[in-house]
Amino acid sequence: MKLEHVTKLIDQQTILEDVNFALGRGEIVGLIGRNGSGKTTLFRTIAGHYLLDDGEISVDDQRIDLYPEFKEQIFYIDEKENFLNAYSLKKINQFYRLAYPRFDQDLYLETMHAHGLPLNHAYRRMSKGMQGLYKMILAIASNATFLLLDEPFDGLDVIVRKKVVGLLLENLGETQRTALIASHNLNELETIIDRALLIKGKTIEADYRLESLREHARKIQLVFRSKQVPPLIKQHAKLIHRQGRVLVALFEHYDQTLADDIRRLEPLLFEELPLTLEDLFEANLSRETLMKG
C-alpha cells in the first residue's frame, strides 16, 4: 500500500498534509505520535471513511480511494464511532461475514472457543479486556490484507494484552498481511514491529527500521566541562534530556569515527545507555530538540 501526498482538511483545518509512506506485505508497522497528531484521521482516510483533499492511496498501483470494493481488503474499527456497542456478538459476526468475503468462520469459532468467549453476548456488556480480545479476533478472522489497529492494547491487563499480541503475531506471521498499529504503549510495540512511523506536524516525520536502528543508533550520556553543547553533538545527535551539564543524546548513525571525535572533546562522562522506542518518541516529538534548544 502506498500513500502519496495525502492531505486531509476537516472544517478548513489541515489535519494531514503531504503524507507519504508505503506499507510492505507482511510488515508490522507502528504508528506513533502525540495525542491529537492525526493518527485517527490517517486511519479513517485510509479506510475510506474520509475523502481525500489531495494525493492518492494505492494498492498494487490501483487507486483504492476511488474504488470502494477495496474496502474488503482493509480492516478498521473506528474507536470513537464504535458501532459494535449496539449489537450482540452474533449479529456482529454476521455483519463481518458480509463485509469481508474471505472471513474465516472456522478460525473465528475456534479462537472464540479457545479464549472462552461466548458466541452470543451483548458487546457493550463485555469487559474492556474481552472487547479488546474480541476486536483482535475479528481482525484476524476478517482475512483482510491490511489491518489498521487503533490502540489495540489500550486498557487491557497484562494477561489479556499478551493474548491479544500473541493472536496477532501468530496469525500475521509469515503471511502477506500487513498491520499498521497506532499505540501509546511503546514498550509493547517495541518487540513486535518492523518499523515505526512517527507522525508529527501533520505528516510522517520519520520512518525507522527498528532492527537496523538497534545496530546503528546509540543513546549516550555525556558530560562536558563547558555548559555549551559542543557543535559536533548538535550536528550528529538529537537531545533526549538535558539536566545542567548532563546530556542524554540520540545518535542515529553512530560509528567508531564519531566515537573517536567525541572522545577528542574530552567528555567528563561518556556512557552508552540502552535505546528504546520511548527514546525515539521523546527525541523526535518533545519540543526540546538541539536545534531549537
Binding site: 507482511g26 503475531l169 501468530e170 509469515e174 518487540t191 513486535i192 532492527e211 538497534r214
Partner: protein, 128 residues
C-alpha cells in the same frame, strides 16, 4: 529457554541466534530436536515474526538448523561439519578488538584466559 534483552544494543535477531546457540551448547537443545515454527516462536516470545524468521535463516545458513518442508525446523548434527574458516577468521578479528580494549583497561592476558575458561565451564561446552 531463549529470551530477549530489550536493553541490549544488539539487534533482537542476533540475540535470538546467540540464545539458540547457547541452548545447543549447554544441551537444552540437541541434534534432531524440533524447534518451534516461526509463528509459534513469535507468539511465545511476543516478538516480530520477521525478526524470528531472520534469526532462523541465519542459523540455517550456518547449518545449525535445518528446515524440512512439511515437517518443521530441526537442530542439525554439527560435529561432522567441516570448520568454517571464514567465520573462524571473523571471530579471530573480534577477539583482537577485545584484546585491544582489554589492554587499555590494564587487564592481564592471564585474567582474560581465566575468564574464557570460566565461561566455557559455565556453558558446559567442550572447546578442544
Amino acid at each position: 529457554m531463549v529470551s530477549i534483552n530489550k536493553t541490549s544494543s544488539k539487534p533482537y535477531y542476533e540475540q535470538l541466534v546467540l540464545s539458540l546457540k547457547e541452548d545447543i551448547i549447554n544441551g537444552i537443545l540437541v541434534a534432531g530436536d524440533q524447534i518451534p515454527s516461526v509463528r509459534e516462536m513469535a507468539k511465545t516470545l511476543l516478538m516480530n515474526p520477521n525478526t524470528v524468521s531472520k534469526a532462523y535463516k541465519v542459523l540455517e545458513t550456518e547449518q545449525i538448523l535445518v528446515t524440512i518442508k512439511g515437517k518443521g525446523t530441526f537442530v542439525q548434527e554439527t560435529d561432522r561439519l567441516p570448520r568454517d574458516e571464514l567465520r573462524i577468521q571473523q571471530l579471530r578479528e573480534r577477539l583482537k578488538e577485545l584484546v585491544i580494549e582489554a589492554t587499555h583497561l590494564h587487564l592481564s592476558i592471564q585474567e582474560i584466559t581465566e575468564w574464557l575458561a570460566a565461561f566455557e565451564n559455565e556453558l558446559g561446552g567442550d572447546l578442544k
